[in-house]
């Protein structure tokens, strides 16, 4: 299933950067309940996001007000494995096109 | 946290057995729901909730009303983990508790120290007596709870 990822800032994850051994739990994506049902997974399970740049595994959270077909992820070095920058454009931090598939647990 | 995001007594009631068994000391389960929201009782105080049948309801209620907490004199419950230290509550409380309104639109300043303060990035209560809920007669002001963007402050009464 195709998703467009939009990054946002999270102060709690940002503050974790200045703690020793603070592994920020930035591996999460917030999806609409409709997309969760379409993917056949529940909140808290793992989702694999893939595009030409790479692939990451993230936890899923439900956000009722998220429009269908979009996902929100906090800004972190992790999400930068998927971002890219085309010539003469800004990096696509707010418009990352990925393929999402549920991970067999 | 806006009022619509808060757990209302009727929603809590739906997780309770609804048998009105009075083992918790209240006459009805609805009264127990109010006591849970007021943090006067804990979910374990209902014997029926501890049975196998209500295990998911107990988990839900413990998620909201369980854990360690201390409700302050005015009914303010602070969740420091949720606080981002933005100081919105301090700013609005200052505008609200520093003045008293009489009749229609006459605002009289109260000369009192601030109630809330941000210390080490978390909100703290420094002066209870300044809160409008400690006035005589009390004024049940809720601005700090309403304006908190992360829901870190909750007034249980």
């Amino acid at each position: 299933m195709k998703l467009t990822i939009v990054t946002y800032r999270d102060i709690f994850l940002w503050s974790e950067r200045y703690k020793e051994n603070g592994q920020p739990a930035a591996a999460l994506v917030r999806l609409s309940p409709k997309d969760l049902a379409d993917l056949g997974i529940a909140a808290g399970e793992k989702l694999k996001l893939t595009n030409e740049e790479g692939s990451i595994v993230v936890d899923v959270l439900a956000e009722p007000k998220c429009p269908s077909g979009y996902g929100y992820m906090p800004v972190s070095p992790l999400v930068n494995r998927l971002t890219t920058c085309r010539h003469g454009k800004l990096p696509n931090f707010k418009h990352i096109e990925v393929k999402a598939e549920a991970l067999e647990s | 946290m806006a009022k619509k995001d808060k757990l209302q007594p009727l929603q809590v009631f739906q997780y309770l057995p609804g048998t009105n068994c009075k083992k918790c000391g209240f006459l009805t389960c609805f009264a127990f729901a109010f006591a849970l929201i007021g943090r006067e009782k804990r979910p374990e105080d209902c014997p029926d909730l501890l049975t196998e049948q209500y295990i998911s309801a107990l988990d839900f209620l413990n998620g909201h009303f369980g854990g360690d907490f201390s409700v302050e004199k005015t009914g303010l419950l602070i969740d420091e983990e949720k606080c981002c230290g933005c100081g919105d509550c301090v700013a609005v409380c200052d505008k609200c508790q520093g003045t008293v309104m009489f009749g229609s639109g006459i605002v009289i300043p109260r000369n009192v120290p601030p109630v809330l303060k941000i210390v080490d990035g978390r909100v703290r209560v420094v002066e209870w007596e300044s809160c409008k809920r400690c006035m005589d007669p009390p004024e049940y002001c809720r601005v700090c709870e309403e304006r908190c963007p992360f829901g870190a402050l909750e007034l249980v009464r």
């Binding site: 800032r9 740049e53 920058c85 | 981002c84 990035g121």
Partner: protein, 413 residues
């Protein structure tokens, strides 16, 4: 024990009312600072998060580290200086002189953040105001920004709650706060924003076009007409443009400016870009005064040239730079890995008070003091006001100004 006031340099609000208590060289408590600032300064107490002078992973003294850095930079044929968003105005001045002396390309993170808006403010084409002038406004709009997570004290200290006409009690509302965003963030939540306009990701240009159509009197979509109604009631409006707007419009603000021009028919509109690092605006200002451009400058051959090809992203992608001097920036955490892989084999010289992904990848690391806490200077807030930073704590580390000055002396031909 000493207690005093200090300026927080964790974000571009530069809150200057932070009360700090220091005992035996350790911070005991900080009052009024948000979670972001507290984490930043308490984290700086932990020596394992701080940098020391390193050459190829081995700890050396200042002279050796500076000699290694000067060696790398002098051997480079096309050096690139990047960063200085987390440095004082004095350090930026030294850095610009150093780049000019090296004939280097100079860029900062504003080339992929708010550089375009700041450029237009500095050249006078975009009206902007300081935080003091917010008191005259009756409408505050956060467009594509989420201050509660990026600049936590923005509302309580500068905009809505600090507004002279903002009252908690009474029926009349003198100032309205509206949020235009793709996500219902904490700022857009029901308790904070008076009005929230949700748009789909990437839809900002359509939304702006609809507002322009509405001003001309044509029928438009429902949310745009609601937004227009709000604008029609206003006489003085401040728009805080966030990264969401910049990325959605992809740095092409022509439609946004056209909307502002149309709004000028009945109201005053001011735009303040919401920048992330504490002195991005200061870097744009310093470089504009020195060269007439805000970023993406090439000093090669003693002349100043400017163009999109001199941005960090293009330089790295085209493998144009053969040595990078990074001053207080962390491109390895904030940029796409697909771009950064082109940096393989390029020597990096990094000045940073904290250990970051960039310092781990650098050949030479110069550990500097933390500006704001351990060294002073001046910095520019996001609205263009200059704030003086006073050191609150003693340190044996050198400041970035001193390091850059000594590097300049070593490289002087």
């Amino acid at each position: 024990m000493s207690a005093g006031e200090m300026v927080c340099t964790a974000c571009s609000c530069l809150c200057d009312d932070i009360e700090i208590e220091i005992e035996n060289g350790r911070i005991v408590s900080m009052e009024k600072a948000c979670r972001k600032g507290t984490a930043f300064f308490f984290g700086s107490e932990n020596e394992r998060l701080r940098t020391v002078h390193l050459v190829d992973g081995k700890q050396v003294d200042t002279d050796q580290a500076l000699a290694a850095a000067a060696g790398l930079l002098s051997r480079a044929r096309r050096p690139l200086v990047f960063g200085m968003d987390n440095a004082s105005l004095e350090a930026q001045r030294q850095g610009i002189e150093l780049a000019r002396m090296l004939g280097a390309v100079l860029d900062d993170s504003s080339s992929f953040c708010q550089g375009k808006l700041t450029h237009d403010i500095l050249t006078g084409t975009l009206p902007s105001c300081t935080f003091d002038q917010i008191h005259d406004s009756d409408l505050i709009i956060y467009w594509g920004s989420n201050p509660h997570n990026a600049q936590p004290r923005h509302l309580s200290r500068f905009s809505l709650y600090a507004h002279r006409k903002y009252h908690e009690m009474g029926a009349t509302r003198y100032v309205t706060m509206a949020v235009v965003d793709v996500r219902e963030s904490e700022t857009a939540g029901a308790g904070v924003a008076h009005r929230f306009f949700r748009i789909l990701p990437g839809e900002d240009s359509n939304f702006i076009a609809a507002i322009i159509e509405g001003i001309k009197g044509n029928p438009v979509r429902k949310d745009a007409s609601g937004f227009l109604k709000l604008l029609k009631q206003s006489r003085h409006c401040v728009i805080f443009a966030g990264l969401g707007l910049t990325y959605s419009l992809d740095n092409d603000f022509s439609l946004f400016y056209e909307m502002l021009k149309h709004l000028g028919g009945w109201m005053k509109t001011f735009v303040i870009p919401m920048s992330g690092h504490y002195n991005v605006r200061g870097f744009n200002y310093s470089l504009y005064n020195a060269t007439g451009c805000v970023n993406k400058v090439n000093f090669a051959g003693g002349a100043v040239s400017h163009g999109d090809e001199f941005s960090l992203l293009e330089q790295v992608k085209n493998r144009a730079a053969d040595c990078l001097l990074i001053v207080g920036a962390d491109p390895f955490s904030s940029l796409p890995i697909s771009v950064l892989k082109h940096l393989d084999g390029v020597p990096l010289v990094t000045l940073d008070p904290f250990r970051t992904a960039t310092t781990e990848a650098s050949s030479v690391v110069l550990g500097v003091s933390l500006t704001g806490l351990e060294s002073g200077g001046t910095a520019m807030r996001m609205d263009g006001t200059t704030v003086t930073l006073m050191p609150a704590k003693w340190t044996d580390k050198q400041s970035d100004v001193q390091i850059l000055e000594r590097l300049k002396e070593l490289l002087r031909p």
